[in-house]
């Protein structure tokens, strides 16, 4: 069974189940790739001190970072170069979902990275140590 994307995969799986239930493969001549992809959004989350209200500046690395969007708050984004993106998020309400971005295959999440660069308090504008924070990628 080959899944290609959200919409067509379901149809194809049904089709395969009906037509070629015994082969375990789906394709006109049996040469289609057999690997699966899982396209979709991944999220950037951060843990750390709960207060004060802070803004985050971080880098995302990965070849196909698409449709970056802030789940809450306001995001500033710039592509610094191929596979390198810088994001600033302020007024964050949900640290489990700082931003989301789309990748063509979430199975390859290990090829993406996120690195926290700065944390600053929104009330005092003071730059804080990033030592107490951990930023990560997840689904």
């Amino acid at each position: 069974v080959i899944r290609t994307d959200f919409h067509r995969g379901g149809v194809r799986r049904i089709f395969c189940a009906l037509v070629v239930p015994s082969t375990g493969a789906c394709g006109g001549n049996g040469t289609e790739p057999t690997g699966t992809t899982d396209p979709g959004f991944v999220r950037v989350a951060v843990t750390g001190p709960l207060s004060p209200d802070v803004a985050f500046k971080f880098r995302i690395t990965g070849t196909q970072v698409d449709s970056v969007r802030a789940a809450t708050g306001t995001m500033y984004f710039e592509e610094l170069g191929p596979g390198l993106h810088r994001v600033i998020v302020v007024d964050v309400a949900d640290r489990d979902r700082l931003v989301e971005f789309w990748v063509p295959d979430r199975n390859g999440l290990a090829e993406y990275g996120v690195n926290l660069e700065e944390v600053a308090a929104t009330g005092t504008y003071e730059n804080l140590s990033v030592a107490g924070y951990v930023i990560s990628l997840g689904q």
């Binding site: 969007r69 710039e78 592509e79 600033i88 600053a120 005092t124 504008y125 730059n127």
Partner: protein
Amino acid sequence: VTSSGAIGSPARVIDSLTVLAPLAVELSLSAGSDSAFFADTDVHLDSVTVIPTGVGSESAAWTAIGGGAWLSVTTTSGVGQGVLGWQVDPRGLTAGTYVDTIVVAIDGASTQPAMFIHTLRVMEVPITVEAAVAAFLAASGVTPAQEAYLDSRGNDDGVLNLGDLLALLDRLDAAGVTVSIPTGAPFSAATQRRP
């Protein structure tokens, strides 16, 4: 005064007349000025000393009036020598020169009131908003002088960093300036106006 045959005549009577100054008021300074950058939010206080003079100056009551959109008198009255204070608020002002006058008068006095003329010069930001935000994202495109400006108007810690951006965004919010930075990310086209 002469009295014929009197010892000590003529005697002299000295009559003196002191003409007292009328009740009036003076200020320790009559004019002042300062400057601000466009989108600054630094509200600050200023003051001069009110000095009543003349008869009854110690207990003379005075009143200060003046101000407008950007200058407001915080000490509107006093008795005897005292401090006249006011607040300068550059928020919302576009670049230009602003002049306002504070008038201080002694209650019931017929003398001329004293005046203080305050001039505020609002200068253009020495960097565009878009360039400033881009500087925080890409860490390039700004001169050392511009970095120093952004830091001095931010957390003033000697480094251009995220805290300075937060300060800039707050100043822009206060000034009603919308920051519109394309994300470069497909379909998120997010214009980054703060909520």
